[in-house]
Symmetry: C2
């Protein structure tokens, strides 16, 4: 089981923290500067920066500095790999149910023969 999909791992890891999810939710409303994101968290700035860089490295947000203000914005397409993975997972599961179905169907034909 090699380390495929480093993206997915980065994204899921970024999403695994409630503070970071809250930040994403905030950013879904509108872009925001660093202190704006920090405020509701009660965390110190360096800590917030760390969270932001995790989000940025996962590709979930982009940031840009204008003067002394850094503005952060959501990258909504970045969630796509997650949906894709979930869908693939579901497809496999459903294919399995179908096979079961076939099996049951075959059994019943056998019976009523």
């Amino acid at each position: 089981m090699a380390k495929h999909d480093p993206d997915l791992s980065l994204i899921f890891h970024a999403l695994a923290d409630p503070t970071r999810r809250a930040m994403l939710t905030r950013l879904a409303e509108a872009p925001a500067r660093v202190t704006e994101l920090a405020n509701p968290t009660g965390l110190r700035l360096p800590t917030v920066m760390r969270h932001l860089s995790v989000l940025e490295e996962a590709g979930l947000i982009v940031t840009a500095k204008d003067g002394r203000v850094r503005t952060c914005a959501l990258v909504p397409e970045a969630m796509a790999p997650v949906r894709t993975w979930l869908d693939t997972q579901r497809d496999i599961w459903e294919a399995r149910l179908d096979r079961l179905d076939d099996y049951v169907t075959r059994l019943m034909k056998e019976r009523t023969k």
Copy 2:
């Protein structure tokens, strides 16, 4: 930003590891015993057990022991909170686009007035 949704954090954290995702994919095909899941990983059993318990604590799988064999099975509904979160996130984003739309529309009416 309190620690709501411990579930989501547990689930995302469980999904953040490629080995664990591979195990889930395998289990989407069919239930499997521990050694069966361990084989393709090249990892030692205790390590595999650890991964399995992370998955189980996140509610993504269930396991049961029959004799000396423990069988693991996927709990596909367990992914639901993830989809819900993604959908909510998307809704917020789209509501935002709508507001932008309104804004632009208003501006244009203003112009052609």
